[in-house]
Amino acid sequence: MQLPLVHVTLQAVWSTIVVLVLAIWFVFSVANQFRVGAHWSWRRWDRLQLVPSWTFFAPNPGRSDLELYYRDVFEGERIGDWIKVPLAEPLAWISGIWYPKKRSKKILLDAVQSLLTLADKLEEDPNLIKITLPYLLLLHIVNEIPKPPGVLLRQFQVRESYGWFTEREPRILLQSEAHAV
C-alpha cells in the first residue's frame, strides 16, 4: 500500500526539481541576451555554454571572411610561399539540406575571434598566447598538412578579406611565430 505513495512523492520531487531548473535556466537566458549582470562572473561557471546567446549576426554582423594560410621554412633558411588552407568548399544548392563542412569554417571563425580577444588581454605577456587553445588549434590545423622534404619550421597567418564586391584589400589579422615541425 505504501509503494504508490513513495512513487507519487518521488514524482513530485523530480517535477519540482525540473521546473526549478528550467525556470532558473530561462532567467539566466534572458539575462544573457541583454548582458544583465555582465559584471558578475556567473558565465565562467557555464562551461557547457548551456545559457544561449541568441543575438545572431547582430549588433555587428560579420562583414568579412577569414582565411588561414601557412608557409614553410626549409633547410638553408629558404622560405616558401604562403599557401591557403582549404577549410570549406563554396556554398552549393545542396548546402541548404546537407553541409557538413560548415563546422570547419565556424571553428576557424571562433578560434580567430577568441585569439584576437586573448591577444588584447595578454598584451603584457604575449608569449602566453602560444599556450592558449585557439592558438594551439590553428597551429595544429596547419601542422597536420603534409610537409615537403627539408621543412624545418612552419608558421600560420590569418587574413581577413571583404567579400565579392569591395574595394578594400585583404589584411593580415594575425601571424604566428615559425614553429618547429
Binding site: V19, L48, P61, I97, K101, S114, L133
Partner: protein, 276 residues
C-alpha cells in the same frame, strides 16, 4: 471560413505537442549527427576536432574524471560511438512516429548525448546547436518520469526560449546602425562564408530592397512573441515567415540545421497559445 479552418488546425494537446517537437528535433539531430559522422576523420588525432587539442579546454581534475576515462568517450573513435548513439536514438523516435506517445529511452539518450557533445566542443558550435540543446534537455528530463506537469513545463520552456531567441535577435539588430540602414543584409550576403554572389550583386545598389529586407527581419523577429497571443491567421503568418526565413538562410547562407532546430519549437508555440 479561413480563420475557423486555421483555428481548428491550430489546436494541439500536450502529448501531441511533445511528440511533434521530439520528431522534428530527432530529424534535425539525425541530419547533424550524420554530417558529423561523414567527417569522421576530423575527430582523429590529426583532425580539426582532435581531442588532443580540444581537451586542453578542460581542467580534468576539476571534474574528478581521469584523462583516460575522458579520452575513451571523447577521443577517436569513442566520440563516433556517442554520435552513433544519438543517430540511433533519433532514428528510433522517427520510426515510432505512428505509435502513441514518445519512446522514453531514445528521448533521454538524445538529451544525454547532446550534453556530451557540448562538453567536447568549445569552438565551432552555432545557434542551431544551442536551440537543439534547449529542446533536447527539457524533453529528456520529462522522459525520465513523464507527467502532465513536466510535459507542460518542457513545452512552456521551449516556447519561451523560441520567443526569446527571435525577439533578442530582433532587438539586437534594431540597436545596430548598420542593420537600421539596411547595409547589414548586403554586408552579410557579400561574404564568401555566409553569402551569395548573385544575391549580393542584386542588393549592391538596391537601397530600398536592402532597407525593406533588413526592417522586415527586425520587425518580425522583435514582434515574434506576439504570435502566442494574436488571432490564428496572424499566428500562421508569423510561423510561415519563420519557416521561410530559415529556409532562405539554409539555401543562401548554408545554415541548414537552423531550419529543423527552430521549426521544432513551433509545436510548443502552438500549445502555449492555447494556454493563454
Amino acid at each position: 471560413m479561413l480563420s475557423s479552418t486555421l483555428a481548428a488546425f491550430g489546436s494541439i494537446g500536450p502529448a501531441s505537442a511533445v511528440k511533434l517537437t521530439s520528431m522534428l528535433l530527432a530529424f534535425g539531430l539525425l541530419i547533424s549527427t550524420i554530417e558529423h559522422l561523414s567527417c569522421w576523420y576530423e575527430f582523429q588525432t590529426g583532425g580539426i576536432y582532435s581531442w588532443k587539442i580540444l581537451s586542453t579546454n578542460w581542467n580534468e581534475k576539476r571534474f574528478m574524471l581521469g584523462t583516460r576515462a575522458m579520452a575513451v568517450v571523447f577521443d577517436f573513435p569513442g566520440i563516433l560511438v556517442v554520435y552513433g548513439i544519438q543517430a540511433a536514438a533519433a532514428a528510433a523516435i522517427l520510426l515510432q512516429a505512428s505509435s502513441p506517445g514518445v519512446p522514453r529511452l531514445p528521448l533521454i539518450l538524445l538529451g544525454a548525448t547532446q550534453l556530451l557533445v557540448k562538453f567536447r566542443y568549445g569552438f565551432g558550435e552555432d545557434g542551431s546547436d544551442q536551440m537543439k540543446t534547449v529542446i533536447a534537455l527539457p524533453l529528456a528530463l520529462y522522459a525520465v518520469a513523464p507527467s502532465s506537469l513536466l510535459g507542460d513545463a518542457a513545452l512552456l520552456f521551449i516556447a519561451l526560449q523560441s520567443c526569446l531567441a527571435y525577439t533578442a535577435a530582433g532587438i539586437a539588430k534594431a540597436s545596430s546602425r548598420i542593420w537600421r540602414s539596411g547595409e547589414a543584409v548586403f554586408a552579410i550576403l557579400n561574404t564568401r562564408s555566409y553569402g551569395n554572389a548573385a544575391l549580393a550583386r542584386c542588393l549592391r545598389d538596391a537601397r530600398c530592397l536592402k532597407l525593406g529586407l533588413a526592417w522586415s527581419v527586425i520587425v518580425l523577429e522583435t514582434l515574434f512573441p506576439l504570435c502566442v497571443i494574436v488571432h490564428p491567421p496572424l499566428f500562421w503568418v508569423f510561423l510561415l515567415w519563420g519557416l521561410g526565413f530559415h529556409i532562405f538562410c539554409a539555401f543562401f547562407m548554408g545554415l541548414n540545421n537552423f531550419v529543423w532546430a527552430f521549426v521544432a519549437t513551433y509545436p510548443a508555440l502552438l500549445f502555449v497559445r492555447q494556454l493563454i
